[in-house]
């Protein structure tokens, strides 16, 4: 009993974080889906979900309820046990990967010495959920989807890993917390020091999360629904949850590694301190829009809900503003780091996910051989060259005393030149392969 209390006293912050992540993540995933549908609708001159709640705000909850109580179908010829377990593997791997993310300086389950590798490694295990799910369904479409998915994931994992190595060379640590601290010390986010690495990571992370234009495993026009073809109801929802969790995970890795984590833009510069007020102003703007729209809702309850949402956002804005207005040194003022850190982190993650959506609704889909060619013949060699380039830049800077401003742009340009060469070579090859024609 005593030891239990001791245990809780030691770990209460982490445990609260863990419970919050497990409880809130499905909701967050649901709202990312809503956001995606709204963004899609906006880009396609439509309105998107409007019926459930004001502006469709309660749609995710309705969807979740529907999925939970749908009939549970396991195909006759499926390998039942594996069919049952496969989606759980995907979800658990995705969620577990979130455990070392530092969402603001306060909100983290554990700061590990191997932090970033932990995220990469554990989330990579999700591949088994996809492969086994596709295999156990015993359908052509599922199996093709699973194989495609596995091949795609593994191909782009290498490129993503190499891109991460590039940034790690600058950070000199694997701990998520220290990576962000290092960026604070340097006064520059790694995206500026290693832009090529960031580009590689963006592409690879889209491919790793099976998002368009790399959504071949579930390409609905070819493979119907890929590895998920036989899944329905809640099991299907679990795969979906896994996909959106993975999106959050890769967005968080990118944010931590390249976009300065929880740091405010120009965190070190005094002149930009007014940016501290940006979160509150931004949220107040959103709240204002809510209040502006509330009277225009057709149903009374929708008006109330929208007004309540607006009030909640104002509350958050006030909470974010409080530490700035409180006298320095007070308890309230000390909360600034945690609250604002979380805000900036989530904002960057949100923007990164928005980028995913933007690309999804703009581009057609790659073909599988093109996808593999892009991965193996462009991104992987480029990522190796990127690592070498950053190494050279660091040596030039540290050993030969070049300044940052010459060493990094120089190697970046060299890396880009290599990228151009690779692209040209790829183009040439594509031409020779373009005409497949009659097969013997």
């Amino acid at each position: 009993m005593h030891s239990l209390i001791d245990f809780l006293l030691t770990y209460w912050v982490q445990l609260v974080c863990a419970v919050i992540i497990v409880a809130v993540l499905p909701l967050v995933a649901g709202y990312i889906v809503l956001m995606e549908r709204k963004v899609m609708a906006d880009m396609q001159a439509r309105l998107g979900p409007m019926r459930v709640g004001p502006h469709g705000l309660l749609q995710p909850i309705a969807d979740a309820l529907k999925l939970l109580i749908k009939e549970d179908i396991i195909p006759d010829e499926a390998d039942k046990a594996i069919f049952w377990v496969a989606p759980l593997i995907s979800v658990t791997a995705g969620m577990l990967a979130m455990s070392t993310l530092a969402i603001g300086p306060w909100f983290q389950i554990a700061d590990l010495n191997i932090g970033l590798l932990f995220i990469v490694g554990i989330s990579a295990l999700g591949i088994f959920g996809i492969v086994l799910g596709g295999w156990s369904s015993n359908s052509h479409y599922s199996l093709l989807g699973a194989l495609r998915s596995a091949a795609q994931l593994v191909s782009y994992e290498t490129a993503a890993g190499m891109a991460i190595v590039g940034a790690l060379m600058l950070a000199g640590t694997l701990s998520t917390r220290e990576i962000i601290a290092t960026q604070n010390d340097y006064g520059v986010w790694f995206v500026f020091a290693a832009p090529v690495g960031f580009f590689i990571y963006v592409v690879a992370s889209i491919a790793e999360t099976n998002r368009a234009p790399f959504d071949l495993p579930e390409a609905e026009s070819e493979l119907v629904a890929g590895y998920m073809t036989e899944y329905s109801g809640f099991r299907w929802a679990l795969y979906f949850l896994a996909e959106y969790t993975n999106m959050v995970v890769v967005a968080s890795i990118a944010t931590t590694l390249f976009l300065g984590g929880w740091l405010r833009p120009f965190a070190g510069t005094r002149a930009f301190n007014f940016l501290d007020f940006l979160p509150s102003v931004l949220l107040l703007g959103v709240a204002g829009y809510c209040f502006y729209r509330a009277p225009k809702q057709p149903v009374k309850i929708q008006k109330m809900v929208l007004a309540a949402v607006g009030a909640m956002i104002i509350l958050v804005a006030l909470i974010l503003a409080a530490p700035l207005l409180a006298p320095a040194g007070s308890f309230v003022a000390s909360m600034k780091a945690g609250l604002h850190g979380a805000f900036w982190f989530l904002l960057k993650v949100g923007l990164y996910i928005y980028l995913f959506m933007w690309l999804r609704f703009t581009f057609p889909r790659y073909r599988f051989d093109q996808l593999m060619r892009l991965g193996w013949q462009f991104l992987i060699p480029l990522s190796i060259v990127n690592v070498m380039g950053i190494g050279v830049a660091l040596v030039l800077h540290r050993h030969f005393g070049w300044s940052h401003w010459t060493a990094f742009p120089l190697t970046t340009i060299l890396t880009l030149a290599v990228a151009g060469l690779l692209a040209a070579a790829g183009e040439k090859q594509e031409k020779t392969h373009a005409i497949v024609g009659e097969e013997a």
């Binding site: 191909s155 694997l174 593999m372 190796i384």
Partner: protein
């Protein structure tokens, strides 16, 4: 057990339990499955599947997996190197030129393999 990992273990248990428990609990709310016949057949666009699903697929997939494993090992070796390249822990940081040279040798061997694969056409999908 390093102490930071204890909350992670608990989190792992929670993360694994949550979907499983939801799946099992909602069995009591869900309608009992009454699916029979065609509903339980694998989807093949509305017609009977022909041939064996668990058949064999292109060996290409296997080559991709081999290459992945090899490259994965290489990447894993790169991680500690990258960390040591500019770590802030006292006494661990590698001398930059030495580190870079050693990694260039390592990556050079890797690139030789890559070029061989490229020439051989092992990286081509079709």
């Amino acid at each position: 057990m390093p102490s930071q990992y204890i909350p992670i273990l608990i989190f792992a248990a929670l993360a694994a339990a949550f979907p499983a428990v939801t799946l099992v609990l909602f069995r009591f709310i869900r309608p009992t499955p009454v699916a029979v016949g065609a509903k339980l057949k694998p989807y093949e666009c509305g017609v009977e599947a022909e041939g064996d699903t668990r058949g064999r697929y292109s060996v290409r997939f296997y080559i991709v997996a081999i290459l992945f494993v090899i490259f994965d090992v290489e990447t894993t070796f790169l991680f500690p190197w990258a960390v040591l390249f500019s770590t802030r822990h006292e006494g661990f940081r590698l001398e930059p030129v030495y580190a870079l040279a050693s990694m260039f040798v390592f990556l050079g061997i890797l690139i030789i393999g890559y070029v061989w694969l490229y020439r051989k056409g092992a990286l081509e999908w079709v």
